[in-house]
């Protein structure tokens, strides 16, 4: 099956190849660049599923050499956590590391 401008690249946020192409022509060079404008990678999987496809588009459509590809930025939490657990006080508090 051929890809087209309507092919969905980011399933979580329903971002198409056409939307990503528009951002590439404006000079996007990283996953995060594309994420900002299109929301690809902002959904619940945080880019796990679409990173490969977006990286492919960066290299082919964006002309970024493989050696200059930077990985998507990763932030906590590693997996979704409910707010009641995150906000809990002792004794139910998660054993999160001490400040900082």
């Amino acid at each position: 099956m051929e890809r087209s401008q309507d092919t969905v690249v980011c399933r979580c946020e329903n971002v198409t190849m056409g939307e990503i192409s528009d951002v590439l022509t404006a000079g996007a060079k990283t996953f995060d660049d594309i994420k900002r404008v299109t929301r690809a990678g902002m959904g619940i999987c945080q880019g796990r599923i679409c990173e490969c496809a977006v990286t492919d588009l960066l290299m082919r459509g964006g002309g970024v050499p493989p050696t200059e590809i930077s990985p998507r930025s990763v932030r906590p939490p590693v997996r979704p956590i409910t707010l009641d657990v995150l906000g809990a006080s002792e004794p139910d508090a998660l054993p999160l590391p001490d400040e900082a």
Partner: protein, 393 residues
């Protein structure tokens, strides 16, 4: 030689992209440069609030109102959906009855600004507006002039429109110097070559000071870190932003209310995360079962007196500054005023926001937050600001 332009704008955030647009719209030849892409700095880490009510003193509130009024027509002019909404914003939720008198006082004072209407809703009115609010809240500070939009769409909209009007955008291009000859700007030096220009706009956010140092200017802007946590997409729970929270068009709820002076550190902390989350679930208990999917931190450019810095500088022709926090609120009016200033149209509005106020002593520290600021920076920044290295040109 990378380019030749009438104006080179440094920084493709909310302000820089707006300035590029408003200039291009007037037929000015513009080049926009950013070391990242667009909205890579503060604009890409912010909540997206258009905050009129929370902006004392009166002058600052009036400026914010003037800007807020521009967004409805702007979306149409740009041809991009900014996801702009207004009229349903709660600035702050009151949780302690002891805070009510101060809230009423604040509302009264802010409402003296023409066109601004700030009220304290009681718990019944607040929950009529937002049924998901906790029954334990005492009241809510409400201002119909406040609103919100999508910061990425804002920057993207400005830049796309500016490019359509002939502006050039150079992302991933770092400014390394600014050339001047006989007190006049002549070029911007970048990693991709020089841009020959007679006017440079320093809209570099937290990097405003380093771009200032390139011409020997000491611009007193420090970084104030804000941390945000976002949830997964949720059903509509918010009629508009409430307190420290904003629900985006796609349903995710952004939560953030912290301010720390920690230099340029964009790390996240569990302390701030817990602080943000606890206030959120206290205000809206339904959020207890919502799942957080990401935290991040952004740095607000914080001029030491809390007010924007806009306009030219004495002693150097062609150097314009456009910075401050609240870029989302102020981007539209900043774009307009800076464009007017560059085109030499009279802009009385800019006078009290110019850089010279620091060296001329026409400023004061806001009481709030000053102690935290002072603890971190002592008086070094201020001392340098009032006596710039090398003296006034």
């Amino acid at each position: 030689m990378l380019d030749t332009s009438d104006v080179a704008v440094i920084g493709a955030g909310a302000r820089g992209s707006a300035i590029a647009y408003y200039l291009a719209r007037e037929g000015v030849n513009v080049a926009l440069v950013d070391r990242g892409f667009l909205a890579t700095g503060t604009t890409g880490a912010t909540m997206g609030l258009i905050n009129v009510s929370g902006k004392p003193p009166a002058e600052y509130t009036a400026l914010s109102l003037a800007s807020a009024r521009l967004y409805p027509d702007l979306a149409e002019a740009l041809g991009v959906d900014l996801e702009f909404e207004s009229g349903q914003s709660i600035l702050e939720v009151i949780l302690d009855p002891a805070d009510l008198p101060a809230a009423h006082e604040y509302a009264k004072r802010q409402s003296r600004v023409p066109g601004v209407d700030v009220r304290v809703l009681d718990t019944y009115e607040a929950r009529q507006m937002a049924p998901e609010l906790s029954p334990d809240i005492i009241g809510a500070v409400y201002c119909p002039q406040d609103g919100h939009l999508n910061p990425f769409r804002l920057a993207w909209g400005f830049i796309t429109a500016a490019r359509r009007l002939g502006a050039r955008f150079y992302p991933h291009t770092r400014v390394t110097g600014i050339r001047t000859t006989q007190s006049r700007v002549t070029a911007v030096v970048t990693t991709a070559g020089e841009i020959s220009t007679r006017t440079v706009v320093n809209a570099a956010g937290v990097e405003v000071p380093s771009i200032g140092e390139m011409v020997g200017l000491s611009i007193p802007v420090v970084a104030s870190r804000g941390q945000i946590v976002t949830t997964e997409a949720l059903p509509p729970l918010f009629p508009g932003p409430i307190d420290s929270m904003r629900q985006t068009r796609t349903g995710s709820v952004l939560i953030g209310t912290t301010e720390e002076f920690v230099g340029y550190d964009t790390g996240v902390t569990t302390r701030a995360l817990r602080q943000n989350v606890r206030r959120a679930v206290r205000i809206m208990p339904r959020l207890r079962t919502a799942r957080a999917i990401r935290c991040w931190a952004g740095l607000r450019p914080w001029p030491v007196d809390g007010l924007p810095i806009m306009g030219g500088v004495s002693g150097l022709d062609g150097y314009v500054i456009a910075t401050g926090h609240s870029g989302i609120t102020l981007s539209a009016i900043t774009g307009q005023l800076i464009a007017d200033a560059i085109l030499r149209r009279p802009t009385v509005a800019l006078e009290s926001f110019m850089l010279d106020r620091f060296s001329e002593g026409r400023f004061h520290f806001p009481v709030e937050g000053f102690r935290a600021f002072r603890r971190r920076y002592g008086s070094t920044i201020l001392a340098r600001a009032v006596s710039p290295a090398g003296g006034d040109a």
